[in-house]
């Protein structure tokens, strides 16, 4: 057999049937999904109208995460009638179709992409499709994860399959050692800046290289999560011992003999040495610096110790127009030093960067310091489990003493579908994944960066290099 990439192996292993002569279009078996309250309702309505059951209810999990409030006292009520109706209908659907649900009061509730791995439902070799674009996160485990729309959720629920078009393959190799103070978030932001917001459209990425294998599993999740911001519809890292150790013992992970069998199979999950990728991208770890975005697309980013680029220097007229528009929206001028940008809000949260390691990293920066006057800063743990763990380690105290709000878990101000919203013109340092116009609230201005950089910005009252101004790593 011709050498194959890991991506090809996963697609081949899940192909029920080829739908065209060259096998580019296939009927793909899906191992699992996670459902949320806002992209699933119409899928269930479709099933109800056609009188169709769910094919394999135990291969789905529901979690309420997008619309729930995150105020410090947890209540079942949603912030508004629409969210309330969605949560109710979601509960009704999960009950009627036999799907397990983590509702807002459930001790395991949290952001879907934080919950799935932490309870051991994401395993190497799986194909997981879910109604959320950041399903790519699961690539950190050597599982192919990708986002789908509501019609495809319905297709999945009814048939356990999807009509799937094979992607092209891109290998992103990051060799070398990251400098102290440079984090997984900076690696993926540097990649997006290099290849552009559609640089990986039509591709599945495989991340490789010594800087990737040196990352923790949670760091790899951050990278795979944000790969979709370059357009990738799948991001993989070949699973290794670090991944197996991360999964071992989690509540839903295989146990005993099955565990041993699984690990033996998982060790085979890698690209063949002479597999050919459609595209190769190489980044050197040494030159990556802490990154921040200055515009309204995730590729409008730059190292913190530089300044805002000048659209007049941009030869491509389309890109120049996009830059001008972005700077007007952001209320920024060319040439301004990035670390001179003052902020009103700081947000640590989201499926990109609100796991326990992220909170530990940010807490190191804020310990013994205080949020700058006039800045409202909040921490929204990625899941209720993460929140409990952080509290057991005393991190909540560190944040509270420093003047941060310590909230309940949910998507919160990552997309502002609950009551955590930026006001028009408010500027926010954010550990999230999208700096689109209005994403965090109409007229709100978002700067993306790592959670430690958000923490440092909250303390300084402006964007800042954690390494220079705070002295922490």
């Amino acid at each position: 057999m011709a050498p194959r990439t890991l991506y090809d192996k996963l697609v081949d292993a899940h192909t029920v049937r080829r739908l065209d002569a060259d096998g580019r279009q296939v009927l793909l078996y899906i191992d699992r999904t996670v459902l949320n309250e806002y992209t699933s309702p119409q899928a269930f309505t479709g099933l109800r109208e056609a009188g169709r059951p769910v094919w394999r209810p135990r291969a789905s999990l529901g979690t309420v995460d997008h619309v729930n409030p995150t105020a410090s006292r947890r209540v079942a009520a949603m912030a508004d009638a629409g969210g309330e109706r969605q949560a109710e209908y979601f509960a009704e659907n999960c009950r009627d179709f036999g799907i397990e649900l983590f509702d807002v009061l459930h001790p395991l509730q949290g952001i879907e992409h934080v919950v799935m791995p932490e309870i051991g439902l994401v395993l190497p070799g799986m194909v997981i499709a879910a109604g959320d674009s950041h399903t790519t996160t699961y690539g950190a485990f050597g599982a192919l994860g990708f986002g789908i729309g509501t019609s495809d959720i319905e297709h999945y629920l009814a048939t356990q399959t999807l009509i799937y078009k094979r992607l092209k393959s891109m290998r992103v190799t990051v060799d070398g050692t990251l400098a102290p103070g440079v984090r997984a978030k900076d690696v993926v932001m540097a990649l997006i800046r290099t290849i552009g917001a559609s640089g990986a459209t039509g591709y599945a990425i495989e991340f490789a290289g010594t800087a990737i294998t040196a990352l923790s599993v949670e760091g790899r999740m951050t990278i795979c999560n944000m790969a979709v911001e370059a357009g990738a519809r799948g991001a993989l890292v070949a699973p290794d011992d670090r991944v197996f150790a991360y999964i071992a013992g989690r509540p839903r992970a295989p146990k005993d003999d099955l565990w041993d069998q699984a690990v033996a199979a998982w060790r085979e999950l890698k690209s063949d040495p002479d597999a050919v990728f459609d595209q190769e991208v190489v980044l050197s770890a040494e030159i990556i610096e802490p990154m921040v975005t200055w515009g309204t697309s995730p590729d409008q980013a730059a190292p913190i110790n530089t300044s805002i680029p000048d659209p007049a220097q941009e030869p491509n007229p389309d890109r120049r127009r996009d830059m001008e528009r972005a700077l007007a929206y952001m209320g920024l001028a060319p040439g301004m030093a990035l670390d001179a940008i003052t902020i009103d809000r700081a947000f640590i949260g989201s499926c990109t960067n609100a796991r326990i390691e992220d909170l530990r990293d940010a807490a190191l920066v804020v310990r013994g310091r205080h949020v700058a006057a006039g800045v409202r800063a909040m921490v929204v743990p990625g899941s209720s489990t993460v929140k409990r763990q952080a509290e057991a380690e005393g991190l909540d105290k560190v944040f509270l003493d420093a003047g941060f709000e310590w909230r309940q878990s949910g998507c919160s101000m990552c997309l502002a579908m609950n009551d955590d919203v930026l006001g028009a013109g408010e500027r926010c340092a954010s550990s999230t994944n999208r700096n689109f116009e209005g994403r965090q609230g109409a007229g709100g201005r978002t700067h993306l960066m790592s959670p430690a950089m958000v923490a440092a910005a909250a303390i300084a009252g402006r964007l800042t290099d954690t390494r220079r101004d705070i002295g922490g790593n």
Partner: protein, 199 residues
């Protein structure tokens, strides 16, 4: 799903790159449990915001548009299918651009929305044509895979055969796949046997 064969109508130019699904369908319109009522949400801030008078869909003849000629990476970001439902409810039948984000592209196909990709040079030509109010009316012939502009200019486009067929027939994909029930069951049984920790 409404079948797509030959459709004529006004096309509106929207050349900015990276128009994301938050812009196409802002979050305040995502609070429903059905597909209805989304036409108000489409491009809400552009259509109803302070700069509304300059927005192309508020100008004649483009307020009647049934097609959009869009910039690169249209539909990036969130997977929300509400973006496509809303475009359909506002009367759009086809989108023409150089590249679409993956999830959005699939969502179009599932809802009878034809998404056509052209080379950059061809798209530039088309954008210029539809930016002129006197030449903004196009005819898209899916079976023949052509776009015809006033004056007779004709552009050919590529589309995957399976996607073309399901658009022309307006197929119910779930129903079609369920015809394969036995094959899926056979696959599943063998797969779970081979990977018993997933059973």
């Amino acid at each position: 799903m409404q079948p797509f064969t030959i459709v004529s109508g006004i096309a509106a130019p929207l050349p900015a790159s990276n128009i994301d699904t938050d812009v196409i369908m802002p979050k305040q319109f995502l609070k429903g449990v059905d597909r209805s009522g989304l036409s108000d949400g489409v491009f809400h801030d552009l259509r109803f915001g302070p700069l509304r008078d300059t927005f192309v869909l508020n100008k004649s003849p483009w307020q009647e548009a049934r097609f959009l000629v869009v910039g690169p990476n249209f539909g990036c970001g969130s997977s929300r299918e509400h973006a496509v439902w809303g475009l359909g409810q506002l009367g759009f039948r086809a989108l023409i651009g150089t590249s679409f984000a993956g999830i959005f592209f699939d969502n179009c196909a599932r809802n009878g929305m034809l998404a056509i990709t052209l080379e950059a040079a061809a798209l530039d030509t088309l954008t210029a044509i539809v930016s002129d109010p006197t030449t903004a009316a196009l005819t898209i012939d899916l079976p023949a895979q052509t776009i015809t502009a006033p004056g007779g200019l004709q552009l050919a486009f590529d589309i995957e055969p399976t996607r073309k067929e399901s658009l022309i027939l307006g197929l119910d994909a779930v129903g079609a796949t369920l015809q394969e029930r036995a094959a899926i069951q056979r696959f599943e049984q063998a797969y779970l046997q081979e990977n018993p920790w997933l059973a």
